[in-house]
Symmetry: D4
Subunit: 251 residues, 8 copies
């Protein structure tokens, strides 16, 4: 932004613009251009990364439109989240989208090569948490991360989790996904030395209160290094994990 | 009860009572005598067990009165729960009560010899859960049980818990006490093969919601064999554990 | 576990294994073998007990696969919980499963002979609580317990409950199942001298809050010896009751 | 009201008032006088009944002022609710108020003779519910009702309640007061054939949620004839019970 | 009950029964016969009153069976609550049931002549509350009460309510039914001098929380004489109102 | 109203009515005529404004009846809110109603010319909030206001909002509509100097609790000048905004 | 803001600033100067209006400092909200602050002359709501509004409210303040034709849930023109009411 | 761990240990040594980092003991969190602890030199959030991070936040701390391209529900890269931020 404003100011200095004209330009210039719009610019710097379309509430036509336009701009991978099977079918009549029933995601093009610094472990308490886990895992993969899946390693059988200590302890970020009592985040948080992102899921019944019990449980984790995203928010966890996994070291 | 009714009936049979008079006696006889009042009768069968006074809401004078009367009846151990230090001091001027500051319990007389079948393990997630744990442990001991205390073995450091596998696995009942995320009950429930009684505690802050988070977490335990009592209800857990620990085997 | 580790160590001692090889074996040996995996080993000791498959979230094919494999291993009884009528029908095309519509459970093979120490009473407040009660009762029966059903004995007609005092007072464990105000657990807890497992149900409307009212009510029981499992968790109650009913007496 | 309006209209008819003047009078006449103000007029018809002052949030001076003025108007009994001991002491320096510590009520003058149709039973689950019960009972007595107190007859010892069947079944209204699981209202509702007013109390801890558990429990009562007032609202229950107990039969 | 026990006692007195045999009879005699079962006996005293079947959770066959049996016993009016249109249609193939779509109630036979002491006013805040109101009104009518319906008189147009002051003030009981802000109970409670039964409804959206807002509002009514039943519980309100409306005056 | 009462009073004065007859007329005259019924009279003063029918819970026939009657009375614009597509179709067979699928509103006749004092800005956080926004916007337009729509200007991309500072700062009222974290109301409230009406929407999942999170967020706004209406209540916000936008200045 | 930026741009145009220097100035210039900071500038335009200091969380010294500095700048009225009596006393040792115990507000200097367009009515349901009401009323007065107080006009005695119809109907804004069932906002909303700002208060007990019941009630108001601010937020309501009352009419 | 086990195994291989002795050693070896105990080992690798003692629930004596022992072991910095002023004073009699009143933290020794990769920005919505912010900031500093504090930059004055864009956009992690509506996390999340850790605070009143409103708001953030820790958990946020800030880049 500074450069753009400076250019305008320089044009005034050089008499190429009057103060009035500069004023107008500054006002017309959308604020996005003033530096607040991070995503696109930064994205541009990391070629090959997937673009992600939030599918919920969009018609198949809208999705086809956006996806086609992205492909035309040279985007190699396009991910569509929260995509119902019906919409997926309609989209597949026009675009060669691969549909992952479990995570309800559509993938257009090829997954990028991992360019993250370490690996991201995606762990779930039970098998019913897998749809959320796949949303997280595919999001992370589409954003250029290597993902290790550890499914069904819930705390009611802590040995299953301990059998995977090595994978856990070598991860750069762990995404811990669990419904019901949501204790997985705490137990993992106590085992590893890297950030743990807790994702409560709405799996369960009765006093699980559609994921609130797991959410509260994770927020109360007595393990350090644990933070939490919204219930069932696999995408958010995958995105944040990727962000952390792409943080560069010291120059 | 049957005997008492039978006696009345026999007196009618023998002409000692008219039907009318019997009718009146049956009506006057409090229903307690008709068999619904279990505690006292059953207590009578297990000599040596402590009597327990719920101290909250009772004046020191009331407590002294009840305790003295129990001692006079030959009760060797009297436990007073939820007893404030102030009340304890006042009572100590008249009775030789030992006061346990942590659990806020007063003990009159000697603890009975354990006569339960196995051992009861009382485990806590953190050190702040100890007051509730001591209420559970002392209650169980006063009711004639051998108690093993495993404190500060919370799930954020699962190795601390695993270091005590042997004690856990040899228990007849485990009381799992934890605030914050309350995952201890699940993890223990997955390790042992005996009933686990979860006691959520009000330890924590913010989203712990004064113990509700731990309560919900324990209710959602995916481990089998886990049930839950009210928040901070150490007494209830100790009492139930003792009940289970005194269940006889096959005749 | 100790024996298995000891065997490995002995093989090293005897020169049959190098330290490296032993190391490898210890690492390959899943942690389950290191003693944390209780279920299978313990199960093995109590032949004839049913194996239970949690049907929710599993496809008919998956269920058929697991059940067949269990039968092949000689399992005489297999119970499938939370099984929808549709899935049951599909499974019945390949396996001779008996389907209990009320509890939504499928039974493969014969129920085992009761080998528990006493009887388990399953009581419900109303007729609408019966599905949860049957889940509890069938689970307990499949795990080798004698079950007495006392249905529709809710506290709004306390005489119905009192008419069954004898059954209640001779039980080794009582499962008290109720929706709406959930007072059944307290009233029974005051009548009997054995553990009472409360199961709140989601029966009710309005301020029943899908079972939360009954849950809170049961947790606040002023009767001693009452603990609670999750809303509608008939299976969990049946399992815990069986566990308690199989606890052996003193050697 | 009709009479007052009619009088004004008649004065217009008779030329004593112009339409304009009548208009003004109708507007000046507070609506209270138009018939909406029930309490005073109706009160006037039932002499001897106590006047009640809500003490909370009023200064001792204000209370003394109101009470004195009521006495001067010939009021024989004045009841002051929610009165702290400190305020009571200050008031006692100027008025001969009897203070009931348990219910936190002050009584000025003599209780009226009962003029209600039947008796009101005030029952509590435990001894800690007595303050609320006394607020209800004294309110009812001050409004001219005969009150039978059945305290500590909670459902965890249902025989205690059954021992008082006769009193319960002969009542015209029952006030059932209970904290914790609040089941008392349901059990009584199932035993009696008259209206039952449930009063949940804030007695309890943890999952009692300051009386919410008991409130929800009572609202979900499966017994017919039960309705509920606010938590700890002894006054409201006593007032409503008195209202029902003074309903006349057929002319 | 007394009579039955007395008969047994008399038989002992007369030597027709031994004490043992009497004992047995008393034990076999269900407790219902010992006086706790109020409904039937009392019902018997008030001939002509409708019997009410709770339709929810019962099959059409079950309902037909119960209703037929009641008719055979001479019951003139049978009301079926919470009856879906589908079930109603099935029942109508065998019984001449009139179906009220709004309240989802079925009526078999003729409504009884009103024999209550006064009138019951059923008032609603809006038109969407009418289904609950009709459940209350028809229940009350079936139990022998004269009902005045005041629908759509909510507090956001208080003049509509005031236009019916006369009906309100001449009622013996008022049932105030409202969703959303539920203020109707308070406003009516302030206008009338008789018991007001508040029925919150689940009408509304968003912060109405399915009737919880109205429920809380009614419980907090600052008008005396107001009590509350469960959300949407029209039947409960109608039943309680009838109970109050049949309370006899002084002998 | 005054005039109507005055007319009656004058007729009495002139001997055209007796006091009795006047009394009767006053009683028959619905209270609405006594001045409490604001809507109609005031509406009458602002010709051309639309009449609004709340469609939910009304049958197509009822809506057609009301709408036709309004048109016959000369109403130029009739708006129907919360109208399902199915009902709209049925109504369109008889009336030329334009249906707006997004806001689920039907429009009969022409929108009036804006006669408000300033402009109303309707802003949304995301595109999923648009249905609620259109309900607000169309309501405001139908009531004679000029509306500027700023959609998808949520706080997670604050530059989008800042790009519209000019429109925001020149508004007389702003309606801020947002689900999820609902921060839009606060941010706008901090930018503008006019009343901001917050409308939380039920858009979101998990911890959005169907709009409760946004509702609480808006109520806690630390910006002055912000008030809130019910979740998804676009109509209420549009109505209130119009009311404020039609407040006249000093005479 | 535009003028300030334009000035900088003009200085560049005139060669008085280099582009670099201008850049620096633009960056140093806090964004507040770029137009987002409304309060101060707008305040400047309406001389005589009070400045308001939020007292909570500030030390007496801080408050004295801010207030003195404001007075030195010529501010005639300074209001301090949420001021404890202790702090007030300390402040009074150095500044001649008048302290209003009820609203916990301190007033420095003289209240300004009203310059709003109409009057603001502040109505409360009970006398306990007066502290919040006074916070609203004094805030509005300090911001230059004429305020009419209607206290204790709650809906349980609707005639008290109707007696003040004239004041209500002539208001430009009404602030309706009520705890407990919070129905006041709805009833007033149905009577008046101007914006109604609901302020729920934390007055009440039990199911009032510290004001949540009143809050939900107000949000569910079926009267149009009602919006709500946070519980006990008298200041917010007074500020918003003043804002609406100063909205100018058409030029 | 592997090395330690291998050593034991090698000793067996070499005949230095019998299998039995090895077995014993493996059992005695605390599980911490088997690799699950991360903290100490890893800590050892990063010399100079502070050790942190959680002060709540520990006596001054306990804290002095732990701190002294840590100092003796050569620990240069010891931080004590949640330390009351009273305890701090007692500790200061024996150790030269610097006490920070705002964050309630005690510091023993010198803060380490920052060795993190980038800077951590700690931003708060208001001044009342500063105690939590200081807990986060001091924790991060004690763990070797450079911290930039941006206090009182809440969203109701978004220009204050935008004035610090540069600091925000150059951060490696941002901690966003806010009570009330908690929107700060979302707005910052939309501005920066690095992980944002939201910390809701219990600042606020009424509908802030002690921080729950802010918590829900942050969990619903529509900005990507935002995760949340418990209410008021400044320590947790500072610890996690430090963890992220010390993640190394690619080797």
């Amino acid at each position: 932004m500074n450069r753009q404003i400076l250019q305008i100011l320089r044009q005034v200095e050089q008499g190429k613009l009057t103060a009035q004209e500069a004023m107008l330009q500054l006002k017309l210039e959308p604020f996005a251009d003033l530096g607040f719009a991070k995503v696109d610019q930064h994205r541009a710097l990391r070629q090959g990364v997937a673009e992600i379309i939030y599918g919920e509430g969009k018609t198949p036509e809208q999705i086809i439109g956006i996806a086609s336009s992205l492909q035309e701009q040279g985007q190699k991978t396009v991910l569509i989240t929260r995509l119902s099977p019906e919409k997926a079918q309609q989209i597949q009549t026009q675009l060669s989208v691969q549909y992952d029933q479990s995570s309800r995601m559509g993938i257009l093009g090829q997954m990028p090569e991992p360019d993250g610094i370490g690996t991201i472990v995606v762990a779930t308490g039970g098998t019913s948490d897998i749809p959320v886990a796949e949303e997280a895992a595919l999001t992370a993969e589409a954003l250029g991360n290597q993902v290790i899946r550890l499914y069904d390693v819930g705390v009611a059988g802590v040995h299953r989790l301990l059998a995977h200590l090595e994978e856990l302890m070598s991860a750069r970020v762990v995404i811990a996904i669990a419904g019901m009592e949501g204790a997985l985040a705490s137990v993992i948080g106590g085992l590893v030395d890297c950030p743990v992102i807790g994702v409560p899921t709405s799996v369960g019944y009765g006093a699980s209160l559609n994921g609130l019990a797991a959410l509260l449980s994770m927020l109360n984790s007595c393990a350090s290094g644990v933070s939490v995203v919204n219930i069932d928010n696999g995408f958010g966890a995958g995105y944040l994990a990727s962000m952390i996994n792409h943080l560069e070291g010291k120059a």
